[in-house]
Amino acid sequence: MSSATPVDVDEADLLARLRAGEESAFEQVVRTYGGRLLAVTRRIMGSDEDARDVVQDAFLNAFKSLNRFEGNAKLSTWLHRIAVNAALMKLRTRKRKPEQSIDTLLPAYLDDGHHEERFQSWEEPVDKAMERAETRELVRKHIDELPEGYRTVLVLRDIEGLDTEETAKMLGLTVNATKIRLHRARQALRTLLAPHFRSVPS
């Protein structure tokens, strides 16, 4: 992802201490990067408890493969990637709940192809609304409500910033299926957010 980014000085030092097996270095890594990894895995897994297990697995995987870490990448980026992979792995192996339908959150159309609903501009520009912590919290809550197979695509594409091909590969989907899922996930999230972003007549 960011292989061209120069290595931070403290990361280089930290890495050397990790490779030397210093206990305090492992602790420092967990304390420094654990929060971020919890946040991203929480988003993918949809629960705090699962996120914790995944982050623990991710750190252990990382510690086991320190010799495979390439010095020209950032430690934070590398850990992040390992955590995302660990989360997806856990989703694949855990018992699949039957997929929830997303249809009720998609726009409905009349027979003539027009939207059933009348859409109006949201009262406030989104940048402004998102300045409030409660709105950010609410958006995260609704992302968590998306059916798993849609939430993961939305998180990887729109939040993690992976491209469609990478996302498809990580999820074992075709590029086309990934695009369809992303589009539906965004439409569903829009439906969930709409009541909170009140409309003004245009």
Binding site: E27, R31, G35, V55, H114, R136, I143
Partner: protein, 80 residues
């Protein structure tokens, strides 16, 4: 182009991947249909809202890593 078709093209439109000819029809529809125009803006706003809510600097990052997680990782490492 019907509103229903326009909605299917949204994802490619916002990422600039809509083929020229389709884009012309898409934009023509937008100039005539307030409803689709509003829907487009809401769709883009939704993507942006997600990004801001979960972004790198978002406030969901726990200030401290839970102590029991730190302990659990360090203990498990010794068993590797």
């Amino acid at each position: 182009m019907k509103c229903r078709e326009l909605a299917e093209f949204l994802i490619d439109y916002v990422s600039g991947e809509l083929p020229e000819e389709t884009r012309v029809h898409f934009e023509l529809h937008l100039t005539r249909c307030r409803n689709c125009h509003a829907y487009l803006i809401q769709y883009e706003s939704t993507v942006k809202a997600g990004r801001i809510a979960c972004g790198e600097h978002s406030d969901e990052l726990p200030a401290d890593v839970p102590e029991d997680l730190v302990k659990a990782v360090l203990a498990a490492r010794k068993l590797i």
